[in-house]
């Protein structure tokens, strides 16, 4: 095990799939946060930036990011730590009934 590195899965849904892969495994430095993960994703998929952020560091309304099924809003938001084996899911604004 590389103590400086973690491996996670990122899944995207709906219109996010227009600009990024539906499922990826990624290596990140240990101690990464959701914020640094999103920076990495935006580097990889430039089209994602406008869909996720209204301005740097500010998530668009109704974008939902889950860490293992829990909305990061109820954890530490963008400062939520990303850990080995995490499944991070990204949802654009959605509605239904």
């Amino acid at each position: 095990m590389d103590h400086g590195k973690i491996t996670i899965t990122v899944k995207s849904f709906a219109t996010f799939r227009d600009v990024m892969d539906a499922k990826i495994r990624m290596d990140l430095p240990s101690g990464s946060t959701i914020s640094s993960l999103l920076d990495e994703l935006v580097n990889r998929y430039p089209g994602l930036s406008d869909l996720i952020f209204t301005s740097p560091g500010i998530l668009r309304s109704y974008v939902n990011i889950l860490k293992n099924g829990r909305n990061i809003y109820f954890l530490d938001n963008l400062e939520t730590l990303v850990e080995e084996g995490d499944v991070i899911t990204l949802f654009p604004p959605l509605a239904g009934g």
């Binding site: 849904f13 709906a14 309304s61 809003y73 604004p93 009934g97």
Partner: protein
């Protein structure tokens, strides 16, 4: 010139007579239309305790003042009756085009009483109405009925709201279908229609729908259009349909699986909105004046139809342990043709699946059995074999075999597609809904999962009773206006108030709008109390209170009734038994 058509039909099917009366101003002022009209008239006309499938029941179709005015998503109509499934007063909402046509025909509402001696249909024709023979239509599917009526009347502009074989055979969760695939779905209203030998209502007309302030309304329409179009939420509905919810609900570990035995489905992606979009979708489709177009037209293997929506997609899918999208779509098509509630039918099948696997019922069906599931849908619609027992609903079925705990229902109406153990507020909405297991009367999924209008922690109970009340009251008032509930992701009470003021000429503000919604809600509650529904019935199946979820983020969670119910009654101004107090009734003008 107030958005209303101006008249209502009273159809006495026993006497075979129709009368037309002006829409009363007092009804418009205090109840707006739609569900408000239906509930007020129903509770005035029907004594509590009547048998819902007897001729003493009444059905009320009602559009709202905003229906058909060209306001974006202003297309809806409501149908109200006493439910043969729950025994409560019920009201179901449908879209498509029929509501607009009813108003173009000159009518705000149709009040149906008695029972015809032989099958008939009502024809609303440009200010007039007649009762026509329907013997030749009896036995036909909803699609065949619609085509036959249009051909008989020689007019493709006619629109039809009808029942299929399921309604004729009094399946307790039979529904009403318009335009072959839009449903006034819940509560078994189709069976009530069938019990009256009423096969359909057809409507045509070219009467203008006039509003009070055309200029002002134009400006507000534009504002509302912009809000809906610029709201990112509505785009996903257009692109992926309501089944876009499959993945987010599953990733939150609250997608009910195998009759709510668990809440995460391994192959959810196979039946998701994203998969529909890249496999069976032909094109989106919308209701009258809709700019969202959340409907799906599908095509595969030479077949075409509409759907599946999220609820039947889930119910025939994960709830039955099935991940075959084509089979799910076919099952939903059968429900449309037969006129079956596409939540209650599959949820009842899922109940049988659990009971069969546990040996409570001797039947070969198991979770994941696609062919078995498809056969059962038809058997239910035809009331054949075990289908005759299942047609009574999951609660009566499970109770018959001494295992009522296997029915995932509230007040005997089957629960929809969200596990309440991971959604405290939505669970409270389920438990306290005045029409039984239901997700639309207060869609707490919106804040608790989707984060709209703001993010609420789904595992917390604090503050949820007030949220549930607000959603219930606002939804009741929206259902009275004729607007589609999906506008509520983008619009607020001020928007609806402004639309109403410009349309009707009667000043409306958010406080009054919510009060009208609260009035409607309390009226439904009062009637249910007279039927014997009380605190005991405001709950969920024991599974949700005693069996914690086992997977993902909500592991360990149960639904926490005791932390919310008393506070809910208190914010409602009801006593500890859930009965509206005298003071509350006075405040709402109900004494």
């Amino acid at each position: 010139m107030d958005g209303y058509a101006g008249n209502m039909i009273y159809a006495d099917l026993s006497a075979g007579k129709i009368s037309i009366r002006p829409t009363p101003p007092e009804l418009k002022k205090k109840y707006i239309g739609g569900r408000g009209f239906g509930i007020r008239l129903l509770t005035d006309m029907v004594d509590p305790g009547i048998e819902p499938l007897s001729e003493e029941n009444v059905i009320i179709y009602a559009a709202g003042p905003l229906t058909g005015t060209g306001i974006p998503l202003g297309s809806r109509y409501e149908v109200s009756t006493i439910s043969p499934l729950t025994g409560t007063v019920t009201s179901a909402n449908s879209g498509g085009v029929f509501g607009w046509k009813m108003k173009k025909a000159g009518f705000d509402a149709v009040v149906i009483t008695g029972r015809s001696k032989k099958p008939v249909y009502l024809f609303l024709d440009n200010g007039k109405a007649e009762i026509r023979d329907a013997a030749h239509l009896w036995g036909k599917t909803t699609g065949q009925t619609t085509d036959a009526i249009m051909e008989e009347l020689g007019d493709i502009s006619v629109r039809v709201s009808c029942i299929g074989p399921a309604g004729e055979k009094l399946v307790r969760f039979a529904c009403i279908i318009n335009e072959k695939a839009r449903a006034a779905g819940r509560g078994g209203i189709g069976a009530v229609m069938g019990s009256k030998n009423l096969k359909a209502i057809a409507a045509r007309g070219d009467r203008p729908i006039q509003v009070a302030d055309e200029e002002r309304l134009s400006i507000i329409k534009e504002r509302v259009r912009k809000k809906i179009q610029e709201n990112g939420i509505e785009k996903a509905l257009h692109d992926y349909g309501t089944a876009v919810l499959v993945n987010i609900v599953n990733e939150n570990y609250i997608l009910p699986t195998r009759n709510f035995q668990s809440a995460h489905f391994k192959n959810a992606e196979n039946i998701s909105g994203e998969t529909i979009a890249k496999t069976i979708l032909k094109r989106p489709k919308g209701c009258y004046a809709c700019i969202v177009q959340c409907g799906r037209v599908h095509e595969f293997d030479g077949e075409t139809g509409e759907g599946p929506e999220y609820e039947p997609d889930w119910a025939f899918g994960p709830d039955c342990g099935i991940d075959d999208l084509k089979a799910i779509t076919r099952a939903n098509n059968i429900c449309n043709e037969y006129g079956l509630d596409a939540i209650s039918a599959p949820a009842t099948i899922a109940c049988l699946m659990e009971m069969a696997e546990k040996g409570y019922v001797n039947h070969p069906i198991r979770f994941g059995d696609v062919e078995g599931m498809l056969n059962l849908v038809k058997q239910i619609g035809d009331r054949e074999g075990i289908g005759d027992e299942l047609a009574e609903g999951s609660y009566r079925f499970a109770d018959k075999y001494q295992h009522p705990e296997c029915s995932m229902s509230v007040k005997k109406q089957e629960l929809p597609a969200y596990d309440p153990r991971g959604l405290q507020g939505h669970g409270l909405a389920y438990a306290t809904s005045v029409r039984g297991g239901d997700h639309v009367y207060a869609y707490l999924v919106s804040p608790e999962v989707l984060g709209a209008p703001e993010k609420l922690d789904p595992y917390m109970t604090k503050g949820k009773p007030q949220w549930v009340k607000t959603f219930q009251d606002l939804t009741a008032s929206i259902d009275a206006t004729g607007m589609c509930l999906f506008t509520s992701f983008a619009l607020d009470a001020q928007d609806y108030s402004d639309l109403l003021t410009a349309t009707t000429g009667i000043p409306m503000d958010p406080a009054e709008l919510l009060k009208i919604g609260e009035r409607i809600w309390n009226l439904q509650k009062l009637y249910n109390i007279k039927l014997g529904f009380g605190r005991e019935e405001d709950t969920l199946p024991a599974r949700f209170l005693t069996e914690p979820l086992q997977e993902g983020a909500p592991t360990g969670e149960v639904w926490k009734r005791d932390e919310m119910l008393d506070e809910y009654y208190a914010v409602r101004g009801w006593d500890v038994n859930g009965t509206p107090t005298e003071a509350k009734l006075k405040e709402l003008g109900l004494v």
